[in-house]
């Protein structure tokens, strides 16, 4: 490690894959979008373009609107103002192209379901009302379970899984719908270090092999830094996007963690060290 308190602007990121196509029409566009509640907008005047195949890390202090932004992309929250289009379509038409992985705490592990039962639910909207899953749906479900490395647990009740395994089941459910876009809300929160690394490795391989567009909310920038193309930083109702070098500055990170932060470089990559918590 060298230095302390550096912004890391001059740090070169290792090239992981070819640059993404930024000229095509397939992009997620926020046009002057305001999100939140009528009495209290959370995010204001968002102008944003995310290109197909990009991986975006979303960071910001608690309550700044990270989950709200993801929910707006699957129609769970409607914009108070402005327009969101996904690959040229309105949200409601495009959401079958999206795999959404909510925070793990939302998973009701007391529900009587196995890993297979839960993952195949990701295909239900594609199958349509009144229709039963076909063999192709079952094959796709089994493949999604294999993709996240849970084949041996396919018939295990979800209540018997570890935290990391539950997180992977949520990802498998999103993958079973054959999405073009994957939205993940804190997928590495509250799991052990090994599970965190496995989840990030899985996401990285999905991103690179399938050209999935990924938007990932996280508090752990060190973990996701190697896989993201750009970082979206939110604070005070505003959204900023840029390269990791531009966004991972000490000032911004200290606001996120409410603590002293050192941004340094180790083994050719930015490394963030969180120190004492601010008081008062």
């Amino acid at each position: 490690m060298k230095g302390s308190g550096r912004s890391g602007r001059e740090t070169e990121r290792p090239t992981l894959r070819p640059p993404r196509e930024k000229e095509g029409t397939e992009r997620i566009v926020f046009e002057n979008v305001t999100l939140g509640y009528v009495e209290k907008p959370v995010l204001r005047d968002i102008e944003l373009e995310i290109f197909r195949g990009e991986a975006i890390g979303i960071i910001g202090p608690n309550g700044c609107g990270k989950s709200t932004l993801l929910k707006s992309l699957v129609g769970l929250i409607n914009p108070l103002r402005g327009r969101i289009t996904i690959f040229g379509q309105p949200v409601m038409s495009a959401r079958k192209r999206i795999g959404y992985v909510p925070q793990r705490e939302t998973l009701d592990i007391s529900y009587p379901a196995t890993v297979f039962d839960m993952v195949i639910m990701g295909r239900y909207a594609r199958i349509g009302l009144f229709r039963r899953p076909k063999e192709a749906d079952r094959r796709r479900t089994i493949q999604a379970i294999a993709d996240v490395g849970l084949t041996e647990q396919m018939h295990t009740p979800i209540a018997h899984l570890s935290g990391g395994q539950r997180q992977r089941v949520l990802i498998a459910r999103a993958l079973s719908a054959d999405p073009d876009i994957l939205l993940l809300d804190e997928p590495t929160a509250a799991v052990d270090v090994r599970a965190q690394r496995e989840i990030v490795a899985l996401l990285r391989s999905l991103h690179e092999e399938r050209n999935l567009t990924i938007l990932l909310v996280t508090h752990d920038v060190n973990l996701i830094y190697p896989m993201v193309d750009r970082i979206l930083y939110m604070a005070d109702g505003r959204v900023f996007i840029g390269s990791p070098g531009e966004m991972l500055t000490r000032e911004k990170l200290e606001r996120i963690y409410n603590a002293n932060v050192i941004v340094t470089e180790a083994e050719g990559r930015i490394c963030v060290i969180v120190g004492d918590v601010h008081h008062g």
């Binding site: 929910k71 699957v74 129609g75 769970l76 409601m92 959401r95 079958k96 999206i98 959404y100 909510p102 939302t106 998973l107 009701d108 529900y111 009587p112 379901a113 196995t114 039962d117 839960m118 639910m121 990701g122 239900y124 909207a125 199958i127 009302l129 009144f130 039963r132 899953p133 009740p157 209540a159 018997h160 459910r173 719908a177």
Partner: protein, 281 residues
């Protein structure tokens, strides 16, 4: 002993009211225990109890006005369903608060309607405590018709009901018509409650819905087996409870519910889930 059994079989074969009671017990046992599975996994127990009490206000108004009590029971149940669904879905009120308000209000209405009656109406108390032996041919046709309808809808929308009872937000995010499915589930619960009123009564109907499903939940880890086990417990409990109530000459609804509660505690004690919990500790 043999002669007692023969006498019992002879009674059930000889008397039309006994045959109707048996058929009603089977139909209601299946219906309540199947819909009960969705009630239990969705955490809708309180709303179901609220629907049962709202339907009683309809029954009493029916007696007061001389209109078919079942019709008004269904109307009041649906009103409750839509009020609770609307208030909860808009995020205006929490589910337990909206149910609690309507629960108390409809019971107050029922008491008012009883107070306004010019003469004593024994039939009202039949709906309060239930009397499966008084089920008529018309009642049986209604029970059969509603049972077929509710079970058919459950069969057709099985995977969607499974998804919204497991994770409603994700079901919505994936593009399913969650609002329609949410109200449909509430309407199915309301229809189940109303059609079971005459047999088991307002007070006990919800035990018939929740208890078999809660017992089945102790034994299995998947939804489809839970439905099958719940239906077996509900049907078996209703039949055996009816026969025991006839032998002992005690109220049938109370006997059925007591028996089902006993089965629930046996399942709770025997539950592989509980054994696993103990091992984990």
């Amino acid at each position: 002993m043999d002669s007692a059994v023969q006498q019992l079989i002879s009674d059930f074969l000889s008397f039309a009211f006994m045959q109707r009671a048996l058929m009603a017990a089977v139909l209601i046992g299946i219906l309540c225990s199947v819909i009960g599975v969705f009630v239990v996994v969705k955490g809708f127990s309180f709303i179901g109890a609220g629907i049962a009490h709202a339907s009683f206000a309809g029954v009493t108004l029916g007696f007061l006005l001389g209109v078919n009590p079942m019709l008004l029971a269904l109307l009041f149940s649906l009103l409750m369903v839509f009020f609770v669904g609307w208030a909860t879905h808009r995020g205006e009120l929490k589910l337990d608060i909206s149910v609690g308000i309507f629960f108390a209000f409809t019971m107050a209405l029922a008491i008012l309607f009883i107070g306004l009656m010019k003469q004593y109406q024994a039939g009202v108390y039949g709906y309060l405590f239930g009397d499966i032996l008084s089920v008529t041919r018309a009642d049986l046709r209604l029970i059969a018709g509603i049972s077929v309808f509710v079970l058919a809808v459950v069969g057709l929308l099985y995977k969607e009901l499974q998804f919204i009872t497991f994770d409603q937000e994700m079901a919505e995010a994936s593009g399913l018509p969650v609002t329609f499915l949410y109200y449909m589930l509430l309407v199915l619960i309301a229809m189940t409650v109303v059609v079971s009123l005459k047999a088991v009564g307002v007070i006990l109907v919800f035990a018939l819905i929740v208890t078999p499903a809660a017992a089945a939940y102790q034994l299995v880890h998947r939804l489809t087996p839970m439905i099958l086990v719940s239906a077996a417990i509900g049907t078996g409990g209703s039949l055996v409870g009816l026969i025991l109530s006839y032998i002992w000459d005690v109220p049938s609804g109370a006997t059925i519910v007591s028996l089902l509660t006993l089965v629930f505690f046996v399942c709770l004690w025997w539950s592989p889930k509980r054994r696993r919990c103990r091992c984990d500790e």
